[in-house]
């Protein structure tokens, strides 16, 4: 490579999102730190797997990236430029598009497929209306749908076909980054693999960057190039997929990995040792927020916030490696 390396396609610097929650009619509002200081760099062509339990803030992070929520503080850069210039979120929406989990509820049942897929073009007033039909048909070809579905309604399509429509809608704006929020978990097994294959093909053909939010670690292992593990609004470990699955460092990552049920008979159901108590995010535990569930907790864990250790492999936030 000559000259300077290109800036990461997406960079987050210390992004936070705090909601003010009222727990009773007369009680004062309390802060809930849904996303609590996240810094991430995603390079062109990466597939970042974002994993963690429900309530860890991964969906809030996705909303911030999509411009659906404004961060409370912190900066987001796309190709090195601030994403929220003059509070205009249409710029971010043009370059980052979502694919949602449930294709049964994410498509408007009263609109035709043509209308659903062309909506982003109409919203952003891209090109001449006479070209829209052609653009939709081209994208339908790319995601493997027959052109005749243009005038169909979502209820005439199968689950896999609907998810292809959702993918077509995301891709019609030619985004650089696609946020896939559990793209296959509402689908049947045989259809899941088709959609995963399609996502991998599209990434190569269109040079896309994915943020893949999933709690199916087998899927993340299969298509992600790097993985960030979230716990209570923080990224506790971030590293390349190989490193993470071979030698996870954070005890939470190890526990998550040990809960994966691989299709190997005779091994029984693993016990992750995590217990059931996901902590209350309004009143998080002191020190390291993971310490009440951690098998390796020791002295400082309940007192001090763990340091972030950055090295060649990535980052980990744990007292064990201090």
């Amino acid at each position: 490579m000559t000259g300077q390396t290109p800036p990461p396609v997406l960079e987050m610097q210390d992004v936070t999102k705090t909601y003010m929650i009222r727990r009773g009619i007369f009680s004062p509002k309390q802060p809930l730190h849904a996303v609590n200081g996240i810094s991430l760099k995603i390079n062109k062509g990466d597939v970042l797997g974002l994993v963690g339990e429900s309530g860890c803030g991964k969906s809030t992070l996705a909303k911030i990236l999509l411009g659906l929520e404004l961060p409370s503080s912190g900066e987001i850069f796309i190709d090195g430029e601030p994403a929220y210039q003059n509070g205009d979120r249409t710029a971010i929406a043009r370059r980052i598009q979502p694919i949602f989990q449930d294709p049964y509820s994410s498509l408007n049942p009263r609109k035709t497929i043509g209308s659903i897929v062309s909506l982003p073009l109409r919203v952003h007033k891209v090109g001449d209306p006479s070209t829209w039909r052609k653009a939709v048909e081209d994208i339908l070809d790319i995601v493997g749908l027959p052109r005749r579905v243009y005038d169909s309604y979502p209820n005439q399509l199968s689950g896999g076909q609907r998810q292809r429509v959702a993918i077509a809608r995301a891709l019609i704006m030619k985004p650089e980054i696609v946020i896939c929020d559990e793209p296959t978990s509402a689908l049947d097994v045989s259809v899941q693999s088709q959609i995963l294959n399609l996502l991998m093909d599209l990434r190569e053909e269109l040079n896309l960057t994915y943020v893949l939010i999933s709690h199916n670690l087998a899927v993340v292992e299969h298509i992600a190039t790097k993985v960030a593990v979230m716990y209570l609004g923080r990224i506790v470990e971030e590293t390349g997929t190989d490193k993470l699955f071979e030698a996870a460092r954070h005890p939470y990552t190890s526990a998550l990995l040990s809960s994966v049920l691989t299709p190997e008979p005779g091994l029984g159901v693993p016990d992750s040792g995590l217990g059931i108590a996901f902590p209350n995010p309004i009143n998080p535990p002191s020190g390291c927020t993971f310490h009440p569930r951690c098998a390796k907790a020791f002295g400082p864990c309940s007192v001090d916030k763990p340091p972030v250790i950055q090295d060649a492999d990535g980052s980990v936030e744990c007292h064990l490696y201090a």
Partner: protein, 334 residues
């Protein structure tokens, strides 16, 4: 070992505008005390209707028929609604898929937990309450006594699913049917719930029918597996037989679809099953999988034989075992 549930030739037809929808088309299975049977299949294969027909909860217009449908020796089909109601929730219980929607939002957890016990065991409130607290603790809910006065919306998804399990166990049932009990949950909680189900099954020596499409779950908890496709069982066997020697091309396809950490090469194309499930309305001839099968030949248009290799092990295909094994190799290497 005595069979808790024995079913043969079960069919369920649902009249629709275009004719009869043959949702379940003649299935046979049995499950013993202390045994876990997993029914695997995708949406629309008839697995949920099968479980509802065992519980006697089918919609009124559905037509059910069976050569044999015996629960601990009692013929379920000959029972009157009132007799069935005395068994349901008492000697057999069901854990439904959606903990968010299958609990009544207007009643407390305690109320809903105690109801089957009060009704079937004719117990006092105090006994029912103690039983409810005991079971909530057994399913790993802390501060169980105080939970009884809470409403479903005050609990997280994982806790609600635990409440559903506790509710199913209230009357110490001989048969538990769990329909996708962990699909909506995090992996960590999924592992705990399955752990718990297996533990409770051993402790109470109940028979467990687990309906799922997650092959990871099947591999880890099943003793026996029945793979369903388009209303029929296409392959049955022990869990080892199904995973180590899958014979039906649909079973083989399903196993090839899922990435296995450490085994599937990262980023490689996953196997897939092209095409969609055929319509089950009207007369269906031959093998219903033939349109999606890479090994289909002329005989598949008319024949759909089930080969029993030994009791409990069999598959539905026009090909013989060596040919099916060769197909499996071809699919796995493709």
């Amino acid at each position: 070992m005595s069979a808790v549930l024995e079913i043969s030739g079960l069919t369920v037809d649902i009249p629709v505008a275009a004719g009869d929808l043959h949702a379940v088309r003649g299935i046979d299975f049995s499950v013993d005390k202390g045994e876990t049977l997993c029914i695997v299949g995708e949406s629309g294969c008839g697995k949920s209707l099968t479980s509802l027909s065992i519980m006697g909860l089918l919609p009124k217009r559905a037509k059910i028929n069976a050569d044999k449908m015996q629960f601990t020796g009692t013929d379920l089909l000959s029972l009157k609604e009132r007799e069935l109601a005395a068994i349901r929730g008492n000697r057999m219980a069901m854990i439904f898929q959606e903990p968010m929607t299958s609990l009544n939002p207007a009643y407390t957890i305690g109320n809903q937990l105690m109801e089957p016990y009060l009704r079937h065991k004719k117990s006092s409130d105090k006994e029912a309450r103690e039983r409810a607290i005991y079971l909530l603790e057994r399913v790993g809910i802390t501060a169980a006594a105080s939970r009884l006065s809470q409403y479903p919306h005050q609990l997280s998804g994982g806790l609600r699913q635990r409440v559903m399990i506790a509710m199913a166990l209230m009357c110490d049932p001989e048969l538990i049917i769990a329909d996708e009990p962990t699909t909506a949950l995090d992996v960590t909680i999924q592992a705990q719930i399955l752990h718990l189900l297996a533990e409770l099954r051993n402790e109470f020596n109940s028979a467990l029918i687990l309906i799922t499409h997650d092959l990871g779950v099947v591999a880890r908890v099943a003793d026996k597996v029945a793979v369903m496709y388009a209303g029929k069982i296409v392959e049955a066997g022990t869990v080892e037989e199904i995973f180590n020697q899958p014979l039906h091309p649909y079973t083989q396809g399903l196993i090839n679809c899922i990435p296995v950490p450490g085994k599937t090469a990262r980023g490689s194309r996953l196997g897939s099953i092209p095409g969609i499930v055929p319509t089950l309305i009207g007369d269906i001839k031959g093998c219903s999988f033939r349109n999606r099968c890479g090994f289909a030949h002329d005989a598949c248009d008319t024949n759909d034989p089930f080969h029993t290799l030994n009791p409990g092990r069999g598959y539905r295909c026009t090909l013989d075992v060596p040919a099916c094994e060769a197909n499996a190799k071809e699919l796995a290497s493709a």
